[in-house]
């Protein structure tokens, strides 16, 4: 069991309001990702759930029990920190076993559970090393080991991959996803990286200035964003926005088209533009095109597109792929 419900949760630091008031339901076994730009309150929200910060208002209910005033250790949650936060003076074995030791478990039980966790995380050979003798990825696995060993109701991850290099990040992303499949335990994961959010989440919570902009599955957010913020935040490269005549043609204040939903032609099309920079990735080409009356537009094309700087191109938004927004930025459906 690992359901978490937030009711009217608010957080102020003095005069500064980080989270005005927020409701959210996280179901048992879900992989929920909090995503948003830096300073949007996503880490604060996680820390509120963890109990490392006190709420300024509202309730946090974990497994049907009011946990608002419970200390962190009593909430049945484990947390993996951005900096790993391993105990530098302890061996890997002691680090992983620490929560069990604090819970007063039997030494034999601790040994067994630590050994099991280590084998799941490929740490068996490193059990007697100190954290400083490990690589970044191994440290991260020790932090995860420490989190899983006491079988919590839910895991909290606070940007756990941001200290790793790009290749390792992709690996660890897969490992965490696999771990979720295996354990089927609720996971709450904070990141500013929308790719991590899209690839790992069952449910994404998009936050902006302490407010929930939208909650939904990755593809729901991608295909049906509620507003311009979500539309711009989810998807890479970013969605293109246009106003004025181009939007009026679709009966909207602003329209948005994703780079992958623009058809390219050298002869004719709806929008005419000039290629600025062409980024050749091999599999794809991202073209940055200056379109009259719109500005800079990004378009995705095949890997072998022969276009270069200064070429004139025509762009046509695909039928049914144009997102329309009203004057407040909300989607028109």
């Amino acid at each position: 069991m690992g359901s978490i419900t937030l009711q009217n949760v608010a957080k102020h630091f003095g005069e500064h309001v980080v989270i005005p008031s927020l409701d959210l339901v996280i179901n048992d076994g879900e992989f929920v990702v909090f995503v948003g730009p830096s300073g949007c309150g996503k880490s604060t929200l996680l820390r509120l759930i963890a109990g490392l910060e006190d709420v300024s208002g509202g309730q946090i209910i974990i497994n049907g029990r009011d946990a608002t005033d419970l200390p962190p250790a009593k909430r049945g949650l484990s947390m993996v920190f951005q900096s790993y936060a391993l105990y530098p003076h302890m061996s890997v074995r002691s680090n992983i076993g620490f929560p069990l030791k604090m819970a007063g478990e039997d030494k034999a039980v601790i040994d067994k559970k630590v050994t099991d966790a280590a084998s799941v995380l490929n740490l068996t050979d490193y059990l007697d090393r100190k954290p400083r003798q490990l690589s970044g990825g191994q440290r991260q696995r020790v932090a995860i080991g420490r989190a899983i060993v006491r079988q919590p109701d839910a895991f909290l991850f606070d940007e756990p991959l941001s200290n790793l290099d790009a290749a390792l990040r992709v690996n660890m992303r897969l490992e965490i996803s696999e771990l979720h499949q295996k354990l089927k335990t609720t996971m709450v994961y904070v990141t500013h990286d929308q790719v991590e959010a899209m690839t790992m989440a069952d449910k994404i919570v998009v936050l902006n200035k302490g407010r929930v902009e939208q909650v939904g599955s990755p593809l729901e957010l991608y295909h049906h964003p509620d507003n311009m913020f979500v539309a711009g935040f989810i998807g890479s490269p970013r969605m293109n926005f246009a106003t004025g005549d181009k939007a009026a043609a679709y009966n909207a204040r602003t329209i948005g088209v994703r780079p992958e939903h623009l058809t390219l032609s050298t002869t004719d099309g709806a929008w005419r533009g000039t290629v600025g920079v062409a980024e050749h990735l091999g599999s794809d080409t991202f073209l940055h095109i200056t379109v009259d009356g719109v500005g800079l537009v990004t378009a995705r094309a095949g890997g072998d597109v022969p276009l270069r700087h200064g070429d004139t191109v025509f762009l046509t938004p695909e039928e049914g792929r144009v997102h329309r927004f009203n004057e407040t930025g909300a989607s028109i459906r």
């Binding site: 490392l52 962190p72 250790a73 947390m79 951005q82 391993l86 620490f98 929560p99 604090m102 420490r146």
Partner: protein, 276 residues
């Protein structure tokens, strides 16, 4: 970024470093050397470096004339006592300032440091009068108290710098892992802070050992530490350099040995935070 250092540069830097090192050590070296000379050789001009009649009579003389061991024990009690008492007060203080700082924390730290800028002689008379009226003059406990107060700002500052280096996330992790405040202190904080506390302890023992202003002015005989022991050879004896040197050597030997064995800790303590 790796920097290639030219050979000339290396030589120049080495020469400068050795010169400074020798210059700093020379007075100590000369004191030790002089302590093995006769009084006549001690004031001879030009002085002889190694070719003189080595003698230990100064040490014998100093031993027979004054109670070295009594002074030594006073020094030990005063420096250890004041350092331990200081740590007892400073650990919770630095702890609080490092882990739950308020907007005023920096000001409090600066204020503490500012007390070190006051010339001690400015408060000598009131201190003396207070000590006299409460009966603390020439007592070990009186000196322990005064040296604790003198060195407390440094102890707090050093510990604060150490505690600051302990990442808050590690403490939060231990809280998530179910550690109570007591267990957090025993299993996580203290082991991580031990090197810092150890070097603070060492440095303050040395500072207290060498403190000469208050120890000279607030003691007469009973509680007089080694500083007073040296001083007793400088004033009435006038020009008896050899005996004075022998007394000095005996006074600094214990702390020199302690410093030698703990130099790694000390260097780390003094440069902590400056170099990572």
């Amino acid at each position: 970024m790796a920097q290639t250092v030219s050979k000339e540069r290396k030589i120049i830097v080495t020469v400068i470093a050795w010169s400074i090192g020798i210059a700093l050590f020379f007075p100590i070296f000369w004191t030790i050397l002089t302590s093995f000379k006769t009084e006549a050789e001690a004031i001879a001009s030009p002085p002889s470096l190694f070719f003189f009649d080595w003698t230990t009579e100064n040490y014998a003389e100093v031993q027979s004339r004054s109670n070295y061991f009594g002074h030594f024990m006073n020094s030990v009690v005063i420096s250890l006592g004041s350092t331990l008492l200081g740590l007892l007060i400073a650990i919770p203080a630095a702890w609080a300032m490092a882990f739950s700082p308020t907007p005023r924390t920096k000001d409090v730290l600066m204020w503490m440091l500012s007390t070190k800028m006051l010339p001690p002689v400015g408060v000598l008379v009131p201190m003396y009068l207070i000590f006299r009226s409460v009966g603390l003059l020439d007592t070990r406990i009186g000196l322990v108290l005064v040296l604790t107060l003198i060195n407390l700002p440094i102890i707090v500052w050093m510990l604060y710098t150490y505690f600051k280096e302990i990442p808050g996330e590690i403490l939060e992790a231990s809280r998530m892992d179910g550690a109570s405040l007591m267990k957090e202190i025993i299993y996580v904080l203290t082991p991580m802070a031990v090197p810092g506390i150890a070097s603070t302890l060492l440095l303050n023992i040395i500072l207290a050992w060498n403190e000469a202003f208050w120890t000279l002015n607030l003691t007469a005989s009973k509680a007089a530490p080694l500083t007073a022991f040296i001083a007793s050879y400088s004033s009435p004896e006038g020009l008896f350099y050899a005996k004075l040197s022998a007394a000095s050597t005996m006074a600094i030997a214990p702390i020199l040995i302690l410093g030698w064995f703990s130099q790694k800790q000390l260097v780390r303590g003094l440069t902590f935070g400056a170099v990572k």
